[in-house]
C-alpha cells in the first residue's frame, strides 16, 4: 500500500453511507428520546455505556503511549507520536458523543455537569477531567504539528494555504529557538497529561468500582483493570494504525514490532488482573457474585466471553505477538492488534451488561412484568446504527486528518515534514 495515495474511493463511499444511516438514527434518538433504545429499568446501561468506556480507554491508552515520546523522550517511538495523539483525540470525542447520546436530557447534561457539583460522585469528577484531558490533547497536537503546518502553509497555495494558516493560528515559520520552545511546551503539557489521563480512565473505572450494589464491579481492582485495558487497547489500536498508515521507511517494521510487543505485555498484565478478579470471585462462591459470573460464562452470549474476549482477544494475539515467525511479520501483528481491539470491546460489553441482568433482589424480575422492566437486554437496531454513525463520523474526521495534517512522516505529499 502506497501511503502517499489518497484513500481509495470505495472506503469513502462505504464510510459516508454508514455515516448517513447513522446520523438518521442519531437524530431520531435525540428527537424521540431513550424510548428508541432497548434499555430497560433492570438493565439501564447498555451498548452506549460500553462504547463510551471502550473509546475513552482507547484514548487514554493512545495518549499515554504518546507520553513515551513527548515526556519520557524514548526516541524509538517518535514516528508514532503524533498519530497517537490524533487517535487519542478522535476516540475521546467519539466516547463523549456515545455517552451524550445516552442520557435522558443531553441538553441539560452539557452544562449541569459543570455547574451542579456533587463532590462524592465519580461521574462528576470524570466529566471535569475529561474536559481538561481533551484540552491537553488538543494543545499538544497543535504544538507538535505547528511547525510543519506553517511549512505547509508556505509550500501550498489557494485554499490549502489559507486552511493551514488558520490551523497554524497565524504563527510564523519555525526556528531552532521556536523548536526548542515547542519541545519544552510539549514536555509540560505531556507531563500534566501523565497523571490526568490515568485519572480519566481509572476514574471511569471507579464509576463502576464504588457501587456496593454491583458485586461484579465493587472491587478495588477495577480502576486498575480499566487503566491496563485502556493501555492495551490503545496500544493495539496505535500498532494497527501505524502498520496501516505509517511511512514504509527504515523505522516502520521495528516500530510496529516494538509497539506490538509493548501491547502484548500490557495485554498479558490485563489478563492476569482479570483472572485474579474472576477466580477470586468464583472461589468466594457468594450467590450474587456467582450469578453474574454464570451469566458471563454460560449465558446467552457465552461465546462473546470465551471466543471473542479470551481466545480471540487474549490467547491468540499473545501467541501471534510473542512467537518468532508471526512476531516479526507486520501482517500478523496487525491482525493481532485488530483482535485485541475487538477483544477489549467484548471485555467492556461484558463489564457493563451481565451484572445488570441479575436483578438486585430475588424475584424482582417476576414481581412486575412489563417490557421496560425486563432483565433481558440486547441492543436494538437504533442503538447499533446510531453508534455506527458515531464511529463512522469519527473515522471520517480521522481520515481527513490523516490526509491533510502532518501526522506521519512523508504526509501530506506537498510540504516538508
Amino acid at each position: 500500500m502506497n501511503s502517499n495515495k489518497t484513500l481509495w474511493p470505495g472506503y469513502w463511499i462505504v464510510l459516508l453511507g454508514l455515516a448517513t444511516v447513522g446520523v438518521i438514527y442519531i437524530v431520531r434518538g435525540l428527537v424521540n428520546g431513550m424510548s428508541e433504545t432497548a434499555l430497560t429499568n433492570t438493565v439501564p446501561w447498555g451498548l452506549n455505556i460500553a462504547l463510551y468506556i471502550f473509546f475513552v480507554g482507547l484514548s487514554a491508552g493512545a495518549f499515554l503511549l504518546s507520553t513515551l515520546v513527548y515526556v519520557f523522550r524514548i526516541e524509538r517511538y517518535e514516528p508514532a507520536g503524533r498519530l497517537a495523539l490524533w487517535i487519542a483525540l478522535i476516540t475521546l470525542v467519539a466516547g463523549g458523543a456515545a455517552i451524550l447520546l445516552d442520557v435522558g436530557h443531553p441538553e441539560r447534561a452539557m452544562w449541569r455537569l459543570f455547574i451542579n457539583w456533587n463532590f462524592s460522585s465519580p461521574l462528576a469528577l470524570v466529566a471535569h477531567v475529561y474536559v481538561l484531558y481533551m484540552l491537553i490533547i488538543v494543545a499538544e497536537l497543535w504544538v507538535v504539528m505547528r511547525a510543519d503546518i506553517t511549512r505547509l502553509a508556505d509550500a501550498n497555495g489557494g485554499w490549502r494555504a489559507r486552511t493551514y494558516r488558520v490551523l497554524g493560528l497565524g504563527t510564523s515559520l519555525p526556528t531552532p529557538r521556536s523548536d526548542r520552545r515547542d519541545a519544552r511546551i510539549l514536555l509540560v503539557l505531556g507531563a500534566v497529561g501523565v497523571p490526568v489521563a490515568p485519572i480519566v480512565h481509572a476514574g471511569v473505572g471507579s464509576i463502576f468500582a464504588v457501587l456496593k450494589a454491583q458485586p461484579l464491579w465493587f472491587s478495588g481492582l477495577y480502576p486498575v483493570m480499566f487503566l491496563v485495558s485502556a493501555l492495551a487497547s490503545g496500544g493495539a489500536l496505535l500498532t494497527l494504525a501505524y502498520a496501516l498508515l505509517g511511512p514504509r521507511d527504515e523505522h516502520y517494521r521495528p516500530l510496529v514490532i516494538d509497539l506490538a510487543k509493548l501491547t502484548g505485555f500490557l495485554l498479558a498484565l490485563d489478563l492476569v488482573l482479570y483472572g485474579s478478579e474472576y477466580l477470586v470471585g468464583i472461589y468466594g462462591d457468594i450467590p450474587s457474585h456467582i450469578a453474574v459470573y454464570t451469566v458471563i460464562a454460560t449465558g446467552s452470549y457465552w461465546w462473546v466471553f470465551w471466543f471473542v474476549q479470551l481466545l480471540g482477544g487474549g490467547v491468540v494475539p499473545l501467541i501471534l505477538i510473542f512467537s518468532n515467525r508471526s512476531g516479526r511479520s507486520v501482517l500478523w501483528l496487525s491482525a493481532a492488534s485488530a483482535l485485541i481491539v475487538i477483544g477489549i470491546l467484548a471485555v467492556r460489553l461484558n463489564i457493563v451488561i451481565p451484572g445488570l441482568t441479575v436483578p438486585q433482589l430475588d424475584n424482582l424480575a417476576s414481581a412486575y412484568v412489563e417490557p421496560r422492566m425486563s432483565a433481558d437486554y440486547f441492543p436494538n437496531a437504533a442503538e447499533w446504527f446510531s453508534n455506527i454513525g458515531v464511529a463512522s463520523l469519527s473515522l471520517i474526521v480521522f481520515s481527513l486528518g490523516y490526509l491533510g495534517l502532518p501526522l506521519v512522516r512523508g504526509r501530506p505529499a506537498q510540504g516538508v515534514v
Binding site: G33, T42, W117, S120, S121, L211, K212, Q360, L361, R372
Partner: protein, 243 residues
C-alpha cells in the same frame, strides 16, 4: 403468630401524622413498617401507587416480590412489598453527578426534576432496584383512544420550584428523568397517608414518624421482631419489615 395492634391502625396513624406535621420538617423522620405476616401479595399497593402517581410504562415505584418457600405440601408464599427504602445513607445520593437527588431533612430521598439529566447512575447504584427511568412511553397513546389522564400533570413535586407543574410532554421532565417512590410527599403535605398505606387490603403497611416514640411505627419495631433488606450494606433503610 400475629402482630396485634390496639385500636384502629388508620386512626392511630392519622393522629401520628397530625403530630408529626405540627413539628418542624427537620424533626420528622418518615418511615414505613410492613408486616410480612399479613401481606397476601395482592398488589393493591402497587396498583394504588401507579394510579396515584400516574407512573408510565416501565415505572412502578412499589412492587411486591413473591417467593415460594418449601415444597408442597410444606410450602408457603413469601410476599415482600418493596417501596423505596428512603435510606438514611443513600448510595444514590452519593452517585448523582448533578446533585439532582438528595435526602430531605424529614428523611425522604427526593429528586429534582429540573436537574436530573437522566444518566441513570443512581439506578445502578441502588441496591434495591428502586429507581426507574421514565422512557416517555404511554399506555394508551398508541391505541387510537388515548386517555386524558395520562397527560395530566403529575402531583409529584408540585410547586417545586414555586408554581412548577409537571405535565406530560414528549421530552420534558419527568420524561428522560429517573423517578422513584417519595412516600407520596404531595399527600403528606395535605396531611394524607401515602396511597399504598390506605389501600392495603390486609392492613399490612404502616407509616409514621420514627422520631416520635409514641408513633405506631416506632411501637411496632420495638415490640416485634423486625428486619430491613440488605442491612449489611449500611444503607440504613427507613422501611422495616415485621417477621
Amino acid at each position: 403468630m400475629t402482630h396485634a395492634v390496639k385500636s384502629d391502625e388508620m386512626a392511630r396513624m392519622s393522629e401520628d401524622m397530625e403530630r408529626a406535621l405540627a413539628k418542624p420538617v427537620a424533626e420528622r423522620s418518615w418511615g414505613m413498617v410492613i408486616d410480612l405476616l399479613k401481606c397476601i401479595g395482592c398488589d393493591a399497593c402497587t396498583v394504588s401507587c401507579k394510579s396515584e402517581n400516574k407512573t408510565p410504562p416501565g415505572v412502578s415505584y412499589n412492587v411486591v416480590l413473591k417467593k415460594e418457600i418449601g415444597e408442597y405440601p410444606n410450602v408457603r408464599m413469601q410476599n415482600t412489598p418493596r417501596p423505596c427504602m428512603q435510606c438514611a445513607n443513600p448510595p444514590c445520593v452519593k452517585a448523582c453527578p448533578v446533585d439532582a437527588t438528595w435526602k430531605r431533612p424529614d428523611g425522604i430521598v427526593a429528586i429534582d426534576y429540573q436537574k436530573c439529566i437522566g444518566c441513570r447512575y443512581c439506578m445502578v447504584a441502588c441496591p434495591y432496584g428502586a429507581r426507574y427511568f421514565d422512557f416517555g412511553e404511554s399506555y394508551t397513546g398508541e391505541t387510537g383512544n388515548p386517555q386524558e389522564y395520562e397527560d395530566l400533570p403529575t402531583y409529584e413535586y408540585m410547586g417545586t420550584p414555586i408554581g412548577q407543574r409537571w405535565p406530560r410532554t414528549k421530552n420534558g421532565s419527568p420524561v428522560g428523568n429517573v423517578r422513584k417512590c417519595h412516600f407520596c410527599v404531595h399527600r403528606l403535605n395535605e396531611g394524607l397517608l401515602p396511597a399504598c398505606i390506605g389501600t392495603c387490603v390486609g392492613r399490612a403497611r404502616y407509616f409514621g414518624d420514627f422520631n416520635d416514640p409514641e408513633s405506631l411505627v416506632s411501637e411496632l419495631i420495638t415490640r416485634n421482631s423486625s428486619m430491613r433488606i440488605k442491612e449489611d450494606l449500611g444503607t440504613e433503610p427507613s422501611v422495616h419489615y415485621l417477621t
